[in-house]
């Protein structure tokens, strides 16, 4: 029979076209909109170019938060730490409810030429006792905390804490 063959050919063509369109779109979007997650220490090691967007995760350093209101817009500066290094962050806008000192957060934005991080968005979506998974991993990589041995130490002690086998 001719009709089913022709139908199958058309179907295959449509599927192939659609599949290649989907693949093309995916690859194009991947190359332009994937964002990496870095901890403050990784930022110092890899030194991302200013203007390249990435996610910076860490703990809001205790005592570092300062909000200034200029032209009726709140601008907050704080330091984000993983216990090994800390990066100054600037954010203009409203901070989420769960944002506070000692809380694990993720900031999305890019480095400025002066070595600070300009955040476009600050996320602290998780519960107050729950640490974002990526922050937890950053802490573990930095050797500051292993979840096997109980809850994390208080955030304000990290920068001064002694770590075995770490020379940073």
């Amino acid at each position: 029979m001719r009709a089913p063959k022709k139908r199958r050919l058309i179907l295959l063509l449509v599927c192939g076209l659609c599949l290649s369109a989907a693949t093309g779109l995916t690859l194009a979007a991947f190359s332009s909109s994937l964002t990496y997650f870095l901890s403050p220490r990784e930022v110092l090691l890899k030194n991302p170019a200013p203007g390249v967007s990435f996610r910076l995760g860490g703990i809001v350093q205790v005592g570092s938060v300062n909000t200034v209101i200029t032209d009726r817009m709140p601008t907050t500066t704080f330091r984000l730490t993983d216990g090994q290094a800390s990066i100054p962050v600037t954010y203009t806008g409203l901070l989420p409810d769960l944002f506070r000192e000692g809380q694990g957060i993720v900031a999305i934005g890019a480095m400025t030429p002066t070595g600070g991080f300009a955040a476009q968005e600050v996320l602290a979506k998780h519960g107050s006792t729950y640490m974002p998974k990526d922050v937890e991993q950053a802490l573990q990589k930095a050797g500051k905390w292993n979840p096997k041995y109980g809850p994390p130490p208080p955030a304000d002690t990290w920068n001064t804490m002694q770590v075995k086998g770490s020379n940073s």
Partner: protein
């Protein structure tokens, strides 16, 4: 005592579920009618047992029995009754029990109302459901037991997370879960059909209502969740492409495809193997979506902190269910020969096109969701795929669907011509083009395209109805009579399309939203969206289990005050948590949205003010879609049991 009874009932249910599974699957092979009849009886008793178990857990929550660890950890005697009940499923263990309860409800329904099915098919369907149920009940009982006791009991529970203390969220999980789990029935029918080696129109008539019912619940559940995040989280966003949102969207997309191609099986006996595959895929996506997120494998706002052994158990169950069913499909699918023949241009082909594009969208969303965890697992690189990725990939693939979904319903089965169909749509096309030109003139190209698409879909669906009732060509009374006589399935489908179009309009409208973050002192005002927003003052007010600070914002237009908004900040002392309660004023076509974010030391209030054009249409469209599904379900032809009455039961066995 009551929790022990619940625990026992749960253990009983595990045994019954496995018995139901083994009997249901193997009895039809023995051709023993009496053994086969045991499957429905077991399904109903399993439902009763899990029901008892679930009630026992709810009871423990309602009376605040803190000897139950689950209640002590996630509830408190200080929260209102509704949240003591909803707190039952607001955590991992309890939500597992809810999941199993809904699954057993589905099984019980098939058992109770499936009298018209061939006995062997019913037994096999119940068998598959029993095995799935058994696996997850075993998981609940062994590694995720909600009835673990705590001694000595604490004086007070830890309480319900304040952000979850919301009526929207009390109903969101059960509705969504019903949607997810309902697809298990379509899945069970698909597996049973593969075992039996036959798929026919009668099979399609059984699968479609179940797929439709689950789809309605899933649509309603997703809309409810999106609406909740819009008014609770205070960001004014309705969709974040978060892994858990994608996990709900994926089965919705394939479920939509399933609905459409099940029609083809039912009407034309074509696309059989494809429909079976979609039924398997939809339930597999429901399963993996729910559990990958719940078990913390995918990083998400919604993940419950869970032990690693739970993740492995779940992963094992998923591999067995999904892998097993796909393997069965690979072996048996060639037996499902298609009978229907159709031309390249026909209703069938339009539905195939719909399926191809829906599946492409599903594939893209799946890639974006699963890529980060895989890269992390394989290379240890942490990266995230955010909203820009999904917008760039999904929107171009959705455009052809929007374009074609207006034309498809106008094409006849078997063989069609494009001319007459398009001739009906010139008015819809003209209006849509006008909308595009007006909006594009204001340099909002994206919004203009979206609004054009939405208008096109809604108007062409309305045109379809108008043609069917011969509006303006016969008297209005006669048109009304014709409307009442329209087949409900067709009317439901049209409503579904209208709902989708309305949601597209809402999403497009939201791209025109204007927003301002500002610090105002009492008496100061700002301009936004054509209105003057003035902060009158900030005052304290009491709440049931929180205290709050309320900002009073007056809106005026041309010097005329027309509205006062009262956004508040709520302090929950029990958890030491602050939440924002956004004030939203809607007139059905736009939302005025105010969030009171903080009180600066210098006085006044930090506010986020926004105007969201067409925002209500996003959820209104979801509601119309779910309602369309319900209308379609009420079709006589689809009423459960109705089609099978003509056939004597057990004729095939």
């Amino acid at each position: 005592m009551i929790p022990e009874l619940g625990h026992f009932a749960l253990a009983l249910a595990v045994a019954m579920a496995f018995a139901q599974g083994v009997i249901g699957i193997f009895a039809p092979g023995l051709r023993d009618a009496r053994t086969m009849r045991a499957a429905p009886a077991l399904a109903i008793s399993q439902f009763l047992a899990i029901g008892a178990s679930f009630l026992a857990l709810i009871w423990s929550g309602v009376v605040s029995d803190f000897t139950v660890k689950n209640v002590a950890d996630f509830s408190s005697s200080r929260v209102p009754l509704l949240y003591r009940i909803s707190g039952t499923w607001g955590n991992h263990d309890g939500s597992m029990l809810l999941w199993c309860f809904i699954l057993s409800l589905c099984g019980g329904t098939v058992a109770a109302f499936g009298g018209g099915l061939p006995a062997s098919l019913r037994a096999r369907v119940l068998g598959v459901l029993g095995l799935i149920s058994g696996g997850f009940l075993l998981f609940t009982l062994t590694v995720s037991d909600p009835f673990v006791r705590l001694w000595p009991p604490p004086l007070q529970g830890a309480g319900v997370n304040p952000i979850l203390q919301d009526p929207g969220l009390a109903f969101h999980p059960p509705v969504l879960y019903t949607g997810y789990v309902g697809f298990s029935v379509a899945f069970a029918f698909a597996i049973a059909a593969l075992i039996e080696g036959r798929v026919d129109a009668a099979w399609g008539r059984w699968v479609r209502p179940w797929a439709l019912l689950s789809w309605c619940f899933l649509t309603a559940g997703i809309s409810l969740g999106s609406w909740w995040s819009y008014y609770t989280l205070g960001w004014g966003g309705y969709w974040f492409w978060d892994p858990v949102e994608n996990a709900a969207l994926l089965p919705w997309i394939t479920g939509t495809a399933l609905l459409h191609c099940a029609t083809v099986v039912e009407k034309r006996e074509a696309l059989k193997a494809w429909t079976v595959l979609l039924a398997i895929a939809t339930f597999s996506l429901s399963l993996s979506g729910t559990f990958l997120v719940r078990s913390g494998i995918l990083n998400s706002v919604h993940s419950f902190a869970a032990a690693p052994n739970q993740g492995l158990f779940i992963l094992g169950l998923l591999v067995i269910t999904i892998g097993g069913s796909l393997l069965l499909f690979a072996v048996r699918a060639p037996a499902l020969a298609a009978n229907g023949i159709y031309a390249p241009l026909s209703r069938e082909s339009a539905l195939v096109l719909n399926n191809v594009f829906l599946c492409a969208i599903a594939a893209v969303v799946f890639t974006g969701t699963m890529y980060p965890p895989f890269v992390d697992l394989l290379f240890g690189i942490q990266l995230s795929v955010g909203a820009p990725f999904f917008n760039q990939t999904v929107l171009p693939l959705a455009a052809p669907i929007i374009l074609a979904m207006a034309v498809g319903p106008l094409l006849p089965w078997k063989r069609a011509a494009l001319g007459p169909a398009l001739a009906q749509l010139w008015l819809a096309f003209g209006v849509a083009l006008l909308v595009f030109l007006v909006v594009a003139a204001n340099r909002h190209i994206i919004a203009a395209l979206g609004l054009m698409g939405g208008t096109w879909v809604v108007l062409s669906a309305l045109t379809d109805i108008a043609q069917r009732v011969r509006l303006f060509r016969v008297s209005p009374r006669s048109s009304g009579a014709r409307f009442m006589l329209l087949p409900r399935a067709a009317l439901g489908a049209t409503l579904g399309h209208i709902g989708f179009g309305v949601t597209v309009l809402g999403i497009a409208g939201m791209t025109l939203a204007t927003q301002q973050v500002i610090v105002l002192k009492p008496g100061q005002s700002t301009q936004l969206g054509g209105y003057t927003w003035t902060l009158d003052g900030v005052h304290s007010a009491p709440g049931p289990n929180y205290t709050q600070r309320v900002a009073d914002i007056t809106l005026s237009e041309h010097g005329h005050n027309f509205l006062t908004l009262h956004p508040s900040r709520r302090f929950f002392a029990a958890q030491g948590v602050v939440t924002n309660d956004a004030a939203i004023h809607t007139n059905g076509f736009q939302d005025l949205y105010a969030v009171f974010a903080d009180e600066p030391k210098s006085g006044g209030a930090e506010l986020r003010l926004s105007r969201h054009p067409l925002a209500p249409e996003i959820w209104f469209g979801g509601l119309i879609m779910a309602f369309g599904g319900a209308v379609s379900l009420s079709d006589r032809r689809l009423r459960v049991g109705a089609p099978a009455r003509k056939k004597p039961a057990g004729a095939v066995a």
